[in-house]
Amino acid sequence: MKNMNLYSRGDKIFVFANMVLIALFTVAALYPFIYIAALSFSSGFAAAAGKVVLTPIELTLAAYERVMSEPAFWNSYKNTFIYTFGGTLTSLLIVIPGAYALSRPQLWGRRFWNLLVAFTMWFHAGMIPFFLNMRDLGLLDSYFGIIIGFAVNAFNIILLRNFFESIPTSFEEAARMDGANEWQVLWKVFVPLSKPAIATITLFCIVARWNGFFWAMVLLTDEGKIPLQVYLRHTIAELSDDEEFSSTLLSAPYSVETVTAAIIVCSIIPVLLIYPWVQKYFNKGILLGGVKE
């Protein structure tokens, strides 16, 4: 039998063009990371001379030694963990029940509440009123302020609400027949069935918290409470202004660039470690087999 060609010439060109584009995007996304990693392991002189392109030049751990010898670095690292862990947990504890309530057809005024949540995605009071609000609530310069002030994310609520809405109602009904109340339906049925969606918003929360810079800079003046990203900025500013450091630039084994790169690499590692753990939920259809479609 003659071989049938399932794809037309146009299809093949389309697929090829897509692959080229994806490859370009992948390189564009990966290169900055590779460059920063290479820079962090290079000597200060090589970095300042702009010799680093893809691999470390004059391989050294000097930048890391400099970073890790600073107690402030470890303190900011600890703070970032507190903000990330506390913030993500608080977010999930608010977002999950909120999304569940908004997904329930029996919620009184459901359309209004949904609209109200969505409204905050596009319109908000702005930076100054938010700052004044935080100040008046006594939440400046506090761990609690950073954690609770950004706990509710409308996008995550809507994302999870949509997922909850896609879960067949028979699961809820079966649980109710089994004796579960609303709270038990949520935590014993909906949450386990929504692992992919919850993993997604958890990752969003973790990344946003881990990289949180602007509001931490605005709301925190106490050096002991600043997160890693703010510490990074302070370090860059400090080293750039440090005349003694600048005068020894040619002889020093590290530079502003390599130290900055080393801090960035250190700050990326935890997120890189978490991602594979979360990613397994992205590809998995958790509802498989529960109901007969």
Partner: protein
């Protein structure tokens, strides 16, 4: 075990009424099947009994408790869903234990119950598997196990076999019947499949357009349908129905239709009925190929023979009307090719008022 009592049950969605005042009394340990075409209100009625739908009007009692405002969890009923609704993140044992754990049943009691029920349903070797790793029949059994393990007062089944293939459906039907015999729990079963209804039910409730058309035992419904709807719905193939006029014949009243004369049973209700417009109903099973004592012949034109094995369906024409007969083959169909008449006994002929569709008289 408790009985279930529905008094004037109404379901409205806004201004749209879908169940129009149902009265039904289900005795303790009885197996009642609600049957009817799609959209007739049978599932809605079941869901109102379960507590998954609010009752707009009327009273629902389970035992001697009024349940209208009682939450599903407090009604002591268990439900088997059409799509199984097994928790996909839990294995078979955990699925069955779910309700017991919620009710804070002691662990050893849960384990014992699960073991017992798994044995009854042949699920012992699948207890560690997740729903995705089970076949359709096994999943359905788990769904039943989840209901049984709680020892509820009432079982509710919402078309539980409709997702299974024909062979498995027959098998599961027998299992459900056996289970009911063994457990003796009051059961209400919804289906649109009249074969399921006939084989499972102690009593069948035929519904149409949100109303009950008839309640009775399977044989009662088969032999004495109260109207043309029930006559057409119960039985496979359905009862042959065609319009006729009652006339005086030589030996009594006859129905004349399409040039054919069909002798009628001697019914009290037919006295002085000559000239009345009726619908004649004859079940496909109630005709014979040869003349027997007391039968009269209906001339037919054979159109098609459908062979079922031990039986065959003869698709024929009586005048302009189609007429289906179910006859025995005795292993071969050659003798059916030349059939040009079917024979029926007058007492097998059903009559319905042409205007109202209501049955006239009640034959044996």
């Amino acid at each position: 075990m408790s009985g279930v009592f529905l008094e004037g049950i109404v379901k409205r969605y806004g201004s749209l009424s879908v169940v129009h005042g149902i009265d039904l009394e289900i005795k303790p340990r009885e197996f009642v099947v609600l049957v009817g075409p799609s959209g007739c209100g049978k599932s809605t009625t079941l869901r109102m009994i379960a507590g998954l739908e609010e009752i707009s009007d009327g009273t629902l009692r389970i035992g001697d408790r009024v349940m209208n405002r009682v939450a599903p969890k407090d009604r002591d009923v268990a439900m088997v869903f059409q799509n199984y609704a097994l928790y996909p993140h839990l294995n078979v044992a955990d699925n069955m234990a779910f309700g017991l754990r919620i009710r804070k049943t002691p662990k050893d009691e849960i384990a014992k119950s699960i073991e017992e029920v798994a044995q009854i349903l042949g699920l012992t070797e699948y207890l560690e598997r997740r729903p995705a790793d089970l076949s359709g029949g096994q999943r359905q059994r788990v769904a039943m196990g989840r209901a049984i393990v709680r020892h509820p007062d009432v079982f509710l089944f919402d078309e539980p076999l409709s997702n299974l293939d024909a062979k498995l459906r027959t098998q599961m039907r027998a299992e459900i019947k056996r289970l009911h015999k063994r457990l003796g729990v009051t059961s209400i079963y919804v289906t649109h499949d009249q074969v399921e209804a006939m084989t499972l039910a102690d009593r069948i409730v035929v519904m149409a357009d949100g109303r009950i058309e008839q309640i009775g035992t399977p044989m009662d419904l088969f032999n004495n349908p109260v109207n043309t709807f029930v006559a057409g719905f119960i039985g496979s193939p359905p009862m042959n129905q065609f319009s006729a006029v009652i006339e005086e014949g030589q030996g009594g009243l006859v129905a004349r239709a399409n040039g054919t004369t069909i002798p009628l049973p001697a019914l009290e209700e037919l006295r002085g009925a000559a000239g009345r417009d009726v619908v004649v109903g004859i079940r496909p099973e109630h005709v014979h190929l040869g003349a027997e004592e007391g039968t009269s012949a209906i001339p037919i034109e054979l159109d098609l023979i459908e062979t079922l094995g031990s039986e065959a369906l003869l698709h024929t024409h009586v005048g302009n009307e189609t007429f289906v007969a179910k006859v025995e083959t005795h292993g071969e169909i050659g003798h059916l090719q030349g059939v040009n008449a079917l024979h029926v006994k007058p007492e097998r002929v059903k009559l319905f008022d042409r205007e109202t569709g209501r049955a006239i008289g009640r034959a044996a």
